[in-house]
Subunit: 232 residues, 2 copies
DNA sequence: CGCGCCAATTTGTGATCACAAATATCCTTG
DNA sequence: CAAGGATATTTGTGATCACAAATTGGCGCG
């Protein structure tokens, strides 16, 4: 089995284990693994030019974070995504990212607001160009810049794990879903931050996530498994 | 350094790694590690009679779950608990356990309600005897029986990780906080379940967690670290 | 031609070794 | 006596080996 992984060399991670972790994380985010795909320790090690040791530890961590799952036969695979699971993750994300947005509104500074406004502009620009790769990257940056503003490190860490689970499936929002959306939600969010209105900020983020993941969930029938298209 | 760990023999876990994981988890829950305590791989391995390999993987998982934290010097330690962190965990738990309670109310069966009623009785009985060890165990069982009723496996897994982080500090609720509490909240929760009122169930759980963790948070001054008394 | 059984291979797990970084200890020096 | 540096020990990391469980492939039997 060959595994589509970039070399680990470029990263700044101190240990090989962390480089393998980042490499797998990146591949997952870009949707390079098929849902249900089985991964073997040795094939990952070969693809990255390391022994089994760092791979084992990286897989253990990613499994704890829900990015992979262990099967009874002890092998690791990419979780299958069902409609029910998308809905579950949607509700969790609405709760936690809504909470982070509310706390962010309480700690926000003018500098952070300027940063978010800049990112919002870049998202609109990328969308007008039809550049969904940059679009996705900037959306992620926008959200996590907001969440980190909350100062709640445990909360941010949990949200990162959730994005790792839903990440590949967010590709399905492009291009149909995002078409015509002109960032009105982000504009209202920034207004809420400027006014220090935590409840409004929470509502904007909650609505955004709820709508997007409801759209993704509806792409699968009730029992069906959602496939992932390769990242562009 | 000696580590207070029971032998791994009794467990039914398939792999040594899982036995080490369960062993460390149990020790954490019982508050056998001091906050800030540094743990070395070899000392844990010696205490459990295994080599470093299973310990490394168990620690990696527990670190990903937030039960331990890695220091820049690569060593693993028990996280220090501050007032701000307790408040953060409180708000996350209110959100997620409230959500689980609401979903549980939508899926609850008469059998589950009977099971919860039985547990509620056992909690009251233990409390009247002043048996806080049984009290804590039954409280945990009550909560997770409720949460599992939601059928949301990812959500339950996240809540388990949260309990692992706050677990030792819940000992601080005994005996002062629980004294005089006669389980009125649990009675109202069960009523809400019987009536299939998700919003009421959420409110009961949310209030319970908010009050308990606010009490714990107030045990520390603003910058201070909260110590943990040994489990009885 | 299809199904089940057995051998060959793959794969996960755990122990051990080597090495470098971090930590502790001791000795010297001011 | 205190402080700084050299040495010794501890500790985390990664590679390799051995072994057992799981998987695969092919063969023979029905």
């Amino acid at each position: 089995m060959t595994v589509p992984l970039a070399s680990v060399a470029s990263d700044t991670a101190a240990t090989l284990r962390e480089q393998v972790y980042e490499s797998l994380r990146e591949a997952l985010t870009q949707g390079k693994f098929a849902p249900g795909q089985k991964l073997t320790i040795r094939s990952i090690g070969n693809a990255l030019g390391v022994s089994v040791m760092p791979v084992r530890e990286a897989l253990r961590r990613l499994t704890a974070e829900g990015a992979f799952e262990m099967q009874p036969n002890r092998s690791v695979r990419v979780p299958l995504m069902t409609r029910a699971k998308i809905v579950e993750l949607r509700d969790i994300r609405v709760a936690l990212e809504g909470l982070a947005a509310e706390r962010a509104a309480e700690h926000v500074t003018p500098e952070k607001i300027a940063e978010l406004q800049q990112l919002a502009l870049e998202i609109v620009a990328a969308r007008e160009r039809g550049d969904s790769a940059i679009d996705r990257i900037k959306i992620r940056e926008f959200h996590f810049t907001l969440y980190r503003t909350s100062g709640q490190t445990t909360l941010v860490r949990m949200i990162e794990a959730l994005w790792l689970q839903t990440g590949p499936y967010m590709n399905l929002l492009f291009p149909a879903y995002v078409r015509g959306r002109r960032g009105e939600g982000r504009r209202r969010l920034i207004q809420a931050l400027q006014a220090r209105e935590g409840a409004s900020a929470r509502r904007e983020i909650a609505d955004d996530i709820r709508e997007a993941l409801t759209y993704v969930a509806d792409l699968a029938d009730d029992e069906g498994v959602i496939g992932v298209k390769a990242a562009r």
